[in-house]
Symmetry: C2
């Protein structure tokens, strides 16, 4: 079969390599129906995170179950499934408290920009749709696999409540999905921080009530002005830089909450500043599996349409062009069709 392999900075190749096989009796093999490129894949593409040796890449997927291991009980061949990028048994103590991202038996799901993938702990990781979804739902179901689940977690971690004021820092696909999540959670005011017209427009479609184009201290001042001088109840940090975290700390009211889901690169926080800000910080790799059943239902019932973040669709064999389009910000997020 064929799939994407990253060799180093700016070097993603579409290659023939061995079909995945059932390795453990709890595995499943999934034929991908759609996959995509994540903002976090770009850290390696840009050389910020090292690539030690060539390896398959990608962690977002929807597809059809092709084969199951002997101990898989809840899935059958032919079912359409959505999964998270962290394989989890969904039965351990940490899964049961909703932190499947920290499952005691977790494994990464990797190499998903490919025609077939092996999903470990299939019973715990994959969620089947009630029936084969119509084609128009595929992009939104794919988004649930990571960006929508991650944006949703940002909103949950930041304790977004009905009638609250929310700031979303970051206008990438996760930030845009975070806007959608805040709207679903019935925030009253949703302020998106973006200086890109196309992204501003999608943020507004997703429920943003205000747009702030300033950044840094000016951005904080703009948020304060919009919130009676005190800051927002919840701030959703969807970037991962030191600057975006500082902006988030400055934009949150005392007693408010920051949910941070941008993978941090060089972020450091002084205890003194967190103490005096009196805000709560919760972040991490989103426990997407916790939210998947609700998110899938939301897509199929047309409450949410996060698939709109895919503004470019390419055949899987053009995956390298997809990376370039996202790296150069010509695309918000690229969907790949095997």
């Amino acid at each position: 079969m064929r799939g994407a392999v990253i060799y180093g900075p700016k070097d993603v190749r579409f290659e023939e390599y061995a079909d995945p096989k059932i390795l453990a009796p709890t595995d499943a093999i999934v034929r991908t129906v759609a996959t995509c490129i994540c903002g976090s894949d770009l850290w390696r593409f840009r050389g910020v995170s090292p690539v030690v040796q060539p390896r398959p890449i990608g962690h977002e997927y929807v597809g059809v179950v092709e084969e199951v291991g002997s101990q898989v009980t809840s899935l059958t061949t032919g079912q359409f499934v959505v999964g998270s990028f962290v394989a989890s048994d969904n039965t351990c103590e940490l899964c049961l408290v909703g932190y499947q991202s920290a499952c005691l038996h977790r494994e990464p799901v990797d190499g998903c920009q490919a025609e077939f993938i092996r999903v470990p702990l299939a019973d715990g990781t994959l969620v089947a749709t009630p029936k084969q979804p119509a084609p128009e739902y595929i992009p939104s179901l794919l988004a649930c696999s990571d960006v929508m689940g991650t944006g949703w977690y940002a909103a949950i971690a930041a304790q977004v409540r009905p009638d609250s004021t929310v700031v979303v820092v970051g206008d990438g696909a996760v930030g845009l999905c975070a806007v959608l999540a805040a709207r679903q959670l019935r925030a009253d005011r949703i302020i998106a921080m973006s200086r890109n017209t196309a992204r501003q427009e999608l943020a507004t479609q997703f429920g943003a009530t205000d747009i702030v184009t300033e950044r840094g201290q000016e951005g904080i001042a703009a948020i304060k002005e919009l919130t009676g001088g005190i800051g927002a109840d919840s701030v959703l940090e969807c970037v991962g830089t030191h600057e975006s975290m500082q902006q988030s700390l400055g934009a949150t009211r005392p007693g408010g909450n920051i949910g941070f889901v941008g993978v941090p690169h060089g972020v450091h926080i002084r205890g003194e500043e967190l103490f005096s800000a009196q805000v709560a910080l919760r972040g991490g790799s989103a426990p997407v599996r916790r939210f998947l059943p609700d998110l899938i239902d939301g897509v199929l019932q047309q409450r949410i349409n996060p698939g709109k973040v895919f503004d470019v669709t390419l055949p899987l064999e053009e995956v390298a062009e997809g990376y370039r389009a996202m790296d150069e910000r010509r695309a918000i997020k690229v969907l790949l069709r095997p």
Copy 2:
């Protein structure tokens, strides 16, 4: 009147100085019935925080209303009152969401190791007891003014829930009160980290179920061993050093919560470690005023007895000896009687 004045490291003097006066129509003058020395006062006594010029010190107090300004409506002369160390109007937007510590009109209440004190924003700051309390309740009511309110906030910030597992880092008066708070909030297991026999004993009286004497990585390993390898649901950080914060981060399970109330000195947190730990951090100066009515009721109904943290009582004029006793850890906390 007479009160304590700090001149510099190891130099607290008991001196005659001018009686406080009503400066704003919302002020009250309180005759102190009891006051005490806080662990945070020791930062200046030890020279860690600078003393730029001699100034009255102390921020914990109970007493009797001596005089009220013309705009004070809820208090009358002769009432027994307990107040927080932050004066707050209790009506602004931040007070209404429970963050009186960040009140838009907040002022510090200072110079409380004295016979009389001026309390700004008296209506919002002071809580009167239903009647004059019997003498045996005075120490516990005084504790509500800071240490018990702060320990309570640590437990609230760390989201202590019924049947949960809690770790308390720090065996000072705040840490001990945090144990008491966790017990009141019906935690199932409360692990106190302490290597001092007297403090271990009080922790046990307050509800600790386990004592861990190790610190650092060994302390974390001991907590992991007591919690099935995953860490505690809630960790209450009541010290404020970088080491105690690291210990707290290591002792919390993924998805768990840290409440930190030790005033940070040199604490720094990497975004990456917080992201991978998947824990929430909330800290700051406790909004004691939020909890005062319940805590006072708890004392008078004998549900809580935080006054036990006072293991030394001295006449106010011996305040300097009180500082020495706490500095040398001969006393957990010193109560001063004017």
